[in-house]
């Protein structure tokens, strides 16, 4: 879409405008922000961002700005603001702990969109990477969709042509954490018939583009294509491997589809927990160890609806012999892995440092294994691969550590 000049008010909802004025600068969020943990720079903190943007609006759209005109909002200011906005991993912890309930995660999304729609654009690394790839491949990765399942789909899995239960593997699982997708299909396969989209129909969910790059203009086409494809498969309950895919499905897809989705989308863990309740899934092998579970940001602090905290724990508690212990920070205030929403691509160094903080938190729990259920967490924690060479990660990699990290579904699939 055509790039527009920057109007600070345009495109913001009533709620967002009120939220900009609601911040009390109590500074609570700074104690929880993963970016603050590793940068200690309050100038890129949520209150500083809210205050700055509110100031731009006041200078350009209010009585105060007209009566006491100050200098125009300069390009330098906007570049600084943009930099701060993309240093955020959109984990949503600031909103969760906000003492006045500012839904910061949605607000940061909106502001990213405003930059992407304007001549200032999104960071170049995202424009040339995930966004350009999407326009070519309908995926944030530079690979054709036709190969999507070849890497990981086990030969013994039979997909139904049509089924009530569907599984969406997502791009992150496919290319970055194929073990997750494999684990999930083994579990669904054990529980009964299920289906998936044909690989070339299985486009990206839009999260890397909409949240990462702030580019919403692709969403109407994408949502219409994907919803129709899932509906054509007869899916009524859709398990989504990546919680960020689900986040965008629940938040933006109904917007851009123009009505409610004709199926119920949920996390893989939720659908598996349902199947467990229905007696279709059972873990027969014992696991004599203590594990801890990391609640991924998009499950702990989703855009819409309630946090998904119980389902993964229910599954783990169903494994004979397994002991589950929580980290100090778990549930709705779980730590971020630092990998989401463009952080890995744009600020590799910050991303790696945040991941290490989570790793250290897990080590404190004394569990032998940390499980998670998000491809970005998996990538950031297990493979520790980052876009740019990173001394923090190099040191971290070099350390032999007894803490194992695994994906929930991969772990559970081995216990069938």
């Amino acid at each position: 879409m055509a790039k527009t000049p920057f109007d600070f008010l345009e495109g913001l909802t009533k709620k967002e405008l009120i939220e900009l004025d609601a911040c009390t600068r109590c500074n609570e969020c700074l104690n929880w922000c993963p970016v603050q943990d590793v940068t200690d720079d309050p100038n890129i903190s949520p209150p500083a961002r809210l205050h700055a943007y509110k100031g731009y609006i006041e200078r350009t759209h209010t009585l105060k700005g007209k009566l006491f005109p100050s200098k125009q909002v300069s390009d330098e200011e906007l570049k600084g603001f943009k930099d701060s906005l993309w240093k955020c991993a959109l984990c949503g912890t600031c909103g969760e702990v906000c003492t006045v309930g500012i839904d910061t995660k949605k607000l940061w999304w909106t502001l990213r969109r405003k930059f992407a729609e304007s001549a200032l654009g999104c960071p170049e690394a995202l424009e040339k990477g995930p966004l350009a790839n999407y326009h070519k491949y309908r995926s944030p990765f530079p690979f054709p969709l036709t190969n999507k399942y070849k890497i990981w789909m086990p030969d013994d899995i039979e997909l139904a042509d049509q089924a009530e239960i569907g599984f969406y593997e997502g791009c992150g699982c496919t290319w970055d954490a194929p073990q997750m997708a494999e684990g999930a299909v083994r579990l669904f396969n054990a529980a009964g018939p299920f289906t998936m989209l044909d690989p070339e129909e299985s486009w990206c969910c839009g999260f890397p583009q909409a949240a990462g790059s702030g580019e919403w203009s692709i969403m109407a086409e994408l949502a219409n294509h994907m919803v129709k494809a899932f509906a054509d498969k007869g899916i009524k309950r859709l398990a989504v491997s990546c919680p960020m895919c689900l986040d965008i499905m629940k938040y933006l897809w109904p917007y851009f589809y123009g009505e409610e989705l004709p199926f119920r989308a949920m996390t893989t863990a939720e659908l598996l927990a349902d199947l467990l309740d229905e007696g279709k899934l059972k873990f027969t092998k014992r696991a004599e160890e203590t594990v801890t579970y990391h609640d991924p940001c998009a499950m702990a602090r989703p855009f819409m609806g309630k946090a998904v905290l119980d389902a993964p724990r229910k599954l783990l508690n169903a494994v004979p012999g397994l002991k589950l212990m929580n980290m100090d920070r778990h549930g709705t205030v779980s730590r971020c892995c630092g990998g989401s929403a463009g952080e890995r691509v744009v600020n590799s160094d910050i991303s790696a440092k945040i991941a290490r903080e989570l790793f250290l938190e897990a080590k404190k729990s004394t569990a032998g294994t940390m499980l998670t259920n998000c491809p970005v967490c998996y990538l950031n924690l297990v493979t520790k691969t980052h876009a740019a060479p990173n001394p923090v990660v190099e040191q971290w990699r070099a350390v032999e550590d007894p803490l194992r990290i695994n994906d929930l579904t991969q772990y559970l699939a081995a216990l069938l």
């Binding site: 879409m1 008010l9 495109g11 913001l12 909802t13 009533k14 709620k15 967002e16 405008l17 009120i18 939220e19 004025d21 609601a22 911040c23 009390t24 600068r25 109590c26 500074n27 609570e28 700074l30 104690n31 603050q36 200690d40 309050p42 100038n43 903190s45 209150p47 500083a48 205050h51 609006i57 759209h61 209010t62 009585l63 105060k64 909103g95 702990v97 906000c98 003492t99 006045v100 309930g101 500012i102 839904d103 729609e117 919403w216 203009s217 969403m219 109407a220 086409e221 219409n224 129709k228 109904p254 917007y255 851009f256 589809y257 123009g258 009505e259 409610e260 855009f303 819409m304 609806g305």
Partner: protein
């Protein structure tokens, strides 16, 4: 029985009313401008749909009494001491605002502050003032002495807290001087004012007390009016915004709608129409 404007010359009272009027005008203009701005936002959340400035302020007032705001539920989850301090400031300011309104009604319209009611009224406002004083004092202590490890620095925050602290402190000094001079009956029902009265009486004679009373009375209303006029142009507008944000956060699972006049609205509706048309033209079995 309360005696309004005791020890205040007529000219000063006139100045008081003039400045009070100006303060109200500035507050209303500034706040209306903010409400106008909020109402210019797109309609996406059902809870705010179609709301103009008046509807938004009404929502803000009604949600003030929600548990999120009135008992600072979300803040208590994070810190009990800060929760107590905030509630102290909030309830204290509300009581002082209602008290001032009550005294205005008493003076101009219906004299109702008599006997036992007046004593109770005095006691409540005394405690409310103490709550604001302690709350602001705690805020200033936290900001400038104990200093949280992580904090966004802002001069405005200190100015606002300082204004409120000094306005309340001077209010007590005025009350103390009045009690010291008049020694009114049941002064012990204004325990904080009485404490200030005992201290000032031990330090100053009657004439000096009268001067102190007048001087601090003027400073008190100047500080209070400055604070009120500053509210809609400062972060203290959160007094009206934060109860709406808290309410909407709790409602976040509710359905949202495509905003009208949104840049994507036409495409969304066109695709939806195409979808419906393609269903309509399917031949029947």
């Amino acid at each position: 029985m309360v005696e309004e404007f005791w020890n205040i010359p007529h000219g000063v009272v006139n100045g008081f009313y003039l400045l009070a009027g100006a303060t109200i005008v500035i507050f209303v203009l500034g706040f209306w401008d903010k409400l106008r701005l909020w109402s210019q936002g797109m309609d996406a959340d059902q809870e705010l749909k179609g709301m103009g400035p008046l509807a938004l302020i009404w929502l803000s007032i009604t949600k003030f009494f929600s548990s999120d705001c009135f008992v600072a539920k979300r803040l208590f989850r994070r810190s009990t001491i800060r929760g107590v301090m905030l509630v102290g400031i909030m309830w204290g300011m509300l009581a002082l605002f209602l008290g001032t309104t009550g005294r205005t009604i008493n003076y101009w319209f219906v004299p109702w502050l008599k006997g036992g009611i007046w004593y109770l009224f005095s006691f409540i406002l005394d405690i409310a003032g103490l709550a604001v004083l302690v709350g602001c004092g705690f805020g200033l202590y936290r900001k400038y002495i104990s200093k949280p490890e992580r904090m966004v620095k802002s001069t405005q925050d200190g100015v606002l807290l300082g204004l409120l602290f000094l306005a309340t402190l001077t209010g007590f000094l005025v009350e103390g001087a009045r009690i010291a001079v008049l020694n009114p009956p049941a002064a012990d029902l204004s325990p904080v004012g009485l404490a200030f009265g005992v201290i000032t009486r031990s330090l100053l004679g009657r004439e000096a007390l009268l001067s102190v009373h007048l001087g601090f009375w003027v400073i008190h209303f100047l500080l209070a009016f400055s604070f009120i006029a500053y509210v809609p142009f400062s972060k203290y507008e959160h007094m009206f915004a934060s109860q709406i944000s808290g309410f909407l956060f709790e409602e976040k699972s509710k359905k949202r709608e495509i905003p009208k006049d949104w840049v994507y609205q036409d495409e969304i509706l066109r695709r939806k129409q195409e979808r419906q048309n393609s269903v309509d033209v399917k031949p029947s079995a």
